[in-house]
């Protein structure tokens, strides 16, 4: 069915291998410096070797050509990432988070095992090639089964709602370079699996599958970004934002699946390209931001942004890198986030005009509105994270006395920042390349006429830069021989500005907290005794309700079942006879 998969190491694999390597190199350089922080208490060799195994296993996942290999690498990836998450094992929270994470990935692994078992059942082979040969013959029921299993299996690893709860726990617990790899790359590996199964193996999925993916993606995006908005922990915020981006990618995949179903190959190709491009972009800017968070943590020792502020003076380079990352993630041209964001929105819009079923259109449009809101919220959240952390005045001692960051960390961040800029400016070429392959995948002959005006961003950037340059020169000339003063900020009439008069992170998002608070289970308590003290809390409502309910059920069952093991020896003897009688009755009745 698919000509491009003549040899298994096809472009999809290569693309993801490229992403992995592209992210791994800067992160590896960064790690060299970052690891200094751990030298005192932990073994650094252990971390380095685990990271290498982790990356190798990820490459293994995306290049493996049969399901056994795939699963083996997949599980190794989970295991190594687990041990990386609990690297700071002296911290109890990170142990807890690690266990939670590992259990969730195990869920994912089990679903995948079952999924590949089904594929084996239907096609009689573990080889991807054989599965591919068979893939046109899948019946509707088989497609549904495989799709649902793939959705849960890969979804648990990607962090789609409601299986996302490990993300905001594991990422803050893990060392920052590891979170960069996990968020930047590992999630993409899961996405690779999902694309591989749904687009390559299944091909033309039923409409309902696309709709499910679209809805889940949208819900994931909006839910996690609103949660991200209200976090004060930088890394937790970034973790939620990762889930949001995965949601966006997922939504684009959903559009693509719907389009394939309506035989709108061109649109499908557009949406798939958008998804793949966003994979790359997200990998770059999210790893960049995680590395920045790591630098902040390294320098100040805290992840709570309400304790930070004013870091731009002591960590100038990190501040600039973070600024680039923030621009990229909030889709500011010419940094890379906007390119995929545009493509995603565009595929939504084109889908609205091309699909000829009014209900699907309404669905896509509503999802599109939510996705747009999501990108607005992403802007809000990341601006908060950058602005509160780096700008203004130091809020506490920790932010005032910072450690100097090793040069290798700066190189790592800088490389990613340059990457983010370059892939943004030259996104048209990347898009053209990707769309060539997606067209191939979806059997569209000829070039890709669906992407007009593609080099516009380059023109835009050139104009922007030249105007800025001109203005800069003018400004320079204009300001010569003029008085330039540096004064304290106006503090509303007070003589000297206290750091606490600044807006805090939580203050910054109050409007959103008021409007969307319930989604993130936002609670604010004002304590008026003695000093005025505001305490606020957020929690994941999915975790609060769904997970806890499941845990309660398991707990209840455990209490009941475990009683079997206790009690008197007489009752134990009677178990034997009872089961004997039951077995006898069953055997005589049914055999």
């Amino acid at each position: 069915m698919l000509p491009l998969i003549n040899n298994q190491k096809d472009w999809l694999s290569i693309y993801f291998v490229l992403i992995i390597i592209l992210i791994f190199i800067p992160v590896a350089i960064y790690t060299k410096g970052y690891i200094m922080e751990y030298k005192k208490h932990y073994s650094t060799k252990y971390m380095l070797s685990l990271i290498i195994i982790f990356v190798v296993s990820m490459i293994g996942v995306v290049t493996s050509d049969n399901s056994i290999d795939f699963l083996v690498y997949w599980e190794i990836m989970s295991i190594t990432s687990f041990f990386l998450v609990i690297y700071e094992y002296m911290n109890k929270e990170s142990l807890k988070a690690g266990i939670f994470y590992f259990v969730m990935t195990h869920i994912s692994g089990l679903f995948l095992m079952i999924m590949f078992a089904f594929l084996y059942k239907y096609t009689g082979s573990f080889e991807f090639k054989e599965i591919l040969k068979f893939s046109v013959n899948f019946s509707l029921k088989q497609q549904y089964i495989i799709f649902v299993l793939a959705l849960f299996g890969f979804g648990a690893k990607m962090g789609i709602v409601p299986l996302h709860a490990w993300l905001p726990k594991a990422h803050p617990a893990a060392p920052s370079n590891v979170s960069a790899l996990m968020s930047g790359v590992m999630l993409k590996v899961a996405l690779y699996g999902f694309i591989r199964v749904t687009f390559v193996f299944l091909g033309n999925t039923p409409l309902i599958c696309g709709v499910i993916v679209l809805i889940i993606g949208t819900i994931t995006a909006i839910f996690s970004i609103l949660n991200a908005l209200l976090q004060n922990n930088i890394k937790k915020l970034l973790a939620y934002s990762s889930a949001e981006n995965i949601g966006l990618i997922f939504a684009a995949l959903g559009i693509s699946m719907i389009a394939i179903n309506y035989n709108l190959k061109m649109l499908a190709s557009l949406a798939l390209t958008a998804a793949l491009l966003h994979c790359l972009n997200h990998a770059i800017f999210k790893s960049l931001l995680f590395l920045n968070a790591g630098s902040v943590l390294y320098a100040t020792g805290t992840k709570n942004m309400d304790e930070l502020g004013g870091l731009h003076q002591s960590m100038k380079f990190t501040a600039i890198c973070t600024f680039i990352g923030t621009c990229a993630i909030s889709a500011v041209p010419p940094f890379n986030g906007f390119a995929s964001e545009i493509l995603i929105l565009r595929s939504f819009i084109e889908a609205i005009t091309k699909v000829n079923n009014i209900w699907v259109i309404i669905l896509i449009f509503s999802c599109g509105i939510i996705v747009a809101l999501t990108s607005g919220a992403a802007f809000y959240a990341t601006v908060k994270s950058f602005g509160i952390t780096f700008l203004g005045k130091p809020r506490t001692e920790k932010a005032e006395h910072v450690k100097v960051i090793p040069i290798s960390m700066n190189i790592g961040q800088g490389m990613l920042a340059i990457l983010a800029t370059v892939t943004g400016i030259f996104s048209p070429f990347i898009i053209r390349k990707i769309s060539y392959y997606t067209n191939n995948l979806l059997e569209i002959s000829g070039k890709s006429p669906s992407f007009k005006n593609e080099t516009e961003i380059i023109v835009f950037t050139i104009i922007l830069i030249s105007i800025t340059f001109m203005l800069y020169m003018y400004n320079k000339i204009n300001l010569t021989n003029k008085k330039q003063e540096i004064k304290e900020s106006w503090a509303c009439g007070y003589t000297h500005d206290k750091p606490y008069i600044q807006y805090t992170g939580s203050g910054f998002v109050q409007p959103a907290a008021k409007t969307f608070g319930p989604i993130a289970n936002y609670n604010k308590k004002v304590n008026l005794k003695e000093t005025i003290h505001i305490s606020q809390k957020t929690s994941d409502i999915v975790e609060d309700y769904l997970y806890n309910m499941i845990l309660k059920v398991v707990d209840f069952l455990t209490t009941r079942i475990i009683e079997i093991n206790y009690g008197k020896i007489q009752s134990h003897i009677s178990y034997i006879f009872i089961s004997l009688i039951i077995a006898l009755v069953l055997v005589l009745k049914f055999v």
Partner: protein
């Protein structure tokens, strides 16, 4: 002759299911085992096969002489002669035994083999003694009665090679021995052989 012995076994076993005194239980067991030995002897006499004789000999030696000796010794040493609190009282035990035997005989009404029927009755009583009694020693007796049932089965069904049969009986003996030793140890450590005191292993 065999029918008479089987009847004796049945009656004795039903009687045993409600008895409280351990000495009486042991006595019942001795008679029961002796009857089984006699049955084996009779069968050997009838068929002229050697292995019945050997079985009879082994049964009589182990179950009529050695095991009761062990039990009596421990009873004397442990100064227990009575099952104080029954989990199922004597009256109900009789009823349960009766019903159990009725049901099993009903299910086996096609079979002409009265050995099997008696064997099953012994199983039921053995199980009852193990499940419904608290003293470890009664449990052991229950197990021995259970094993007597197995011997009856063995006699009735097929003949196996001598080594195998000897192995089975010998292991029965060993088991009884080990149980006896264990009861002794239990009494020493727990100051009682009541299984109610077995509640340390909870978690």
């Amino acid at each position: 002759m065999i029918e008479a012995l089987l009847t004796f076994i049945l009656i004795s076993s039903i009687y045993m299911s409600g008895v409280r005194r351990i000495k009486l239980l042991t006595g019942g067991f001795v008679f029961q085992s002796a009857a089984i030995g006699l049955i084996a002897l009779k069968l050997g006499y009838d068929t002229g096969e050697v292995h019945y004789y050997i079985l009879a000999l082994l049964t009589i030696i182990t179950k009529v002489i050695i095991i009761p000796l062990i039990i009596n010794r421990s009873v004397k040493k442990l100064k227990i002669n009575r099952e104080m609190e029954l989990m199922v009282n004597a009256f109900n035990s009789y009823i349960i035994t009766g019903i159990g035997i009725m049901i099993s005989f009903g299910l086996l009404n096609k079979s002409q083999n009265s050995f099997i029927k008696t064997g099953i009755a012994l199983f039921i009583i053995g199980i009852l003694l193990m499940v419904a009694r608290k003293k470890a020693i009664t449990q052991m007796l229950g197990f021995l009665i259970f094993e007597n049932g197995i011997v009856l089965f063995e006699i009735s069904l097929t003949k196996m090679s001598l080594v195998i049969e000897a192995g089975i009986v010998f292991e029965g003996l060993m088991l009884a021995l080990i149980m006896g030793i264990m009861i002794f140890h239990i009494n020493k450590t727990f100051d009682s052989i009541n299984t109610d005191s077995f509640e340390n292993l909870k978690e």
